[in-house]
Symmetry: C2
Subunit: 325 residues, 2 copies
């Protein structure tokens, strides 16, 4: 493949001039510019971007740490990210980590290696301290609340949002509340668990630990959790479920038990997913698209600063009343 030197030679100019044409710099006469462009065309030339990255110290790429692209929660954030990043001419390097720390560190190491200009951590198993150590190499944004750390974050107040949902159930008269959750140990999940505990304590409603089901990640997990619940002697009359798709699985399974919703069992979901809309699921919207979009905007701003201070951006939640409560 031709390189810039060859273009220069054939066009009868210096490599500097070719470079200027390539980068739309001023101070190139129309004649030379035309000659260069013609030669580029003729030789079907394009730059070797690795050389550009080397000398400029920039790559125009953002690394994305994401546990699983298959789940709505993550893919919606990613979608928001992509919608902002691609028009801004940034590429996204995706790393699906399944919460494996080695994989997550690999992306952070890419920042160190200069392969990427910044990192967006959608969800992680890493400790905040570990992430902080990498901020020396470039901007890092997480999509979860990590407190006032030395890196930026865009986050939803999971504690308040969950509390709001529980309060809503209580106001509607429900006193026996079950809870389906994804990961047991996770930043956002931990906040929701705390809200669940604190709410019961403060409102004096007795908490049934056996009605808390962890590891509900898929529709089928939701269905299976209902099976377990319905084998119990005492059952809840309402459920709060992290993830509308899990709630959807449960609702579908509920039919075979002839459970009427909300008469026998009220349900409130989380994420405002399309499947929940279809099922009339009452849910809490948490602005997933905006989360991704905001994360990119922060990274983008910070890439051009030399010692950026971390930004903490809180997103609002919103209860969407439909027909399951």
């Amino acid at each position: 493949m031709a390189n810039i030197k060859e273009i220069a030679r054939i066009a009868g100019v210096s490599v500097t001039t070719v470079s200027r044409v390539l980068n739309n710099h001023p101070y190139v006469s129309p004649q030379k510019r035309a000659a260069v462009l013609a030669t580029i065309e003729q030789l079907n030339y394009t730059r070797n971007m690795n050389a550009v990255h080397l000398i400029t110290g920039r790559t125009g790429a953002i690394g994305v740490v994401i546990p699983n692209i298959n789940y709505y929660y993550f893919s919606a954030i990613l979608e928001g990210l992509a919608r902002e990043a691609l028009p801004a001419k940034y590429r996204l390097i995706l790393c699906q980590t399944s919460y494996r720390p080695e994989e997550e560190l690999q992306v952070l190491d890419m920042l160190r290696n200069k392969e990427i200009d910044g990192v967006v951590i959608v969800s992680t198993a890493l400790k905040p301290e570990t992430i902080e150590a990498y901020t020396a190499y470039g901007p890092v944004v997480t999509c979860q609340d990590s407190g006032e750390r030395r890196f930026s974050s865009v986050y939803l107040e999971h504690y308040a949002a969950f509390w709001h949902g529980l309060q809503y159930l209580r106001n509607k008269g429900y006193r026996k509340i079950g809870y389906f959750e994804g990961r047991q140990h996770g930043s956002s999940s931990g906040l929701r668990q705390k809200a669940f505990g604190d709410f019961h304590r403060e409102s004096g409603i007795p908490l049934h630990p056996e009605w808390i089901m962890f590891d509900c990640a898929t529709e089928e997990d939701g269905a299976a959790a209902l099976d377990r619940l319905w084998q119990m002697e005492e059952r809840p009359d309402a459920l709060i479920i992290a993830g509308d798709h899990v709630a959807a699985g449960l609702m579908i399974a509920a039919r075979s038990y002839k459970i009427r919703i909300p008469e026998d069992l009220a349900i409130i979901g989380f994420d405002n997913q399309p499947i929940g809309r279809l099922l009339g699921l009452t849910t809490i919207d948490n602005q997933l698209f905006e989360m991704g979009a905001a994360a990119f905007r922060i990274i983008h701003d910070q890439i051009n600063e030399d010692a950026p201070s971390p930004v903490y951006r809180k997103l609002d939640y919103r209860l969407i009343e439909r027909t399951t409560v």
Copy 2:
């Protein structure tokens, strides 16, 4: 940041020796190796990968052209791709294109620019001729049948699979068949449409064009298409639906019409998605994970050849009988 020269200077060796240590080459004495490693540790050094990419002409990255990560069909292929690529130490550069040719060309241009070592095209709006032009710059694999082109492909026989599904419906006694499809103009979708037409012609079953619903991409589209269908005077007694999630949306909506499945309406889906499993949806499995995995394996093999011949890998489909037919 420190560079290889500085490491060499401080460790008291040449840059070559440092490079050898970095790349685990033989012929380095234990003493020097130790000294180099100690210095690397001490200065918290890592390579600038852009320089490595420049000199080696490799980047260890694969570009992925994917219309939308949010849809199961695509994300499942991506998942399969990631499962093979990441352990092989390849990174995936994801470009969500929404079938915009400019975006798709951008990925192919990255191949030209040496930013990536190969391209996997999950689904595309580009003409095969356009793609062929880029094979000069590196290996390209598509996940759809493009005929015997100058690039590789992993594909499902959509025509045969769809025919199989239609035949199955016919054998079960259904003669009034409707059809929900995603994109009207698409490579795989075109094959399915042709199968639908040919099947009716050959079997003498009258085809009702009004029962063909295009642009069914989401659960809600499936529900809406049922609405339209149920306003008609004459209705089908069976449906073949490209995409289990669309079928799922329809099944959920069917409840409010009190439609019994399969007594009033039989349904056969496509993709074997989890939501379909939950609903007992009869479907056609098309090995999406394997499709992604195979695509990577082909790319991976071809990266090391200098003039690789295209590989055409056909995947098997399988009808999964459940309860909706």
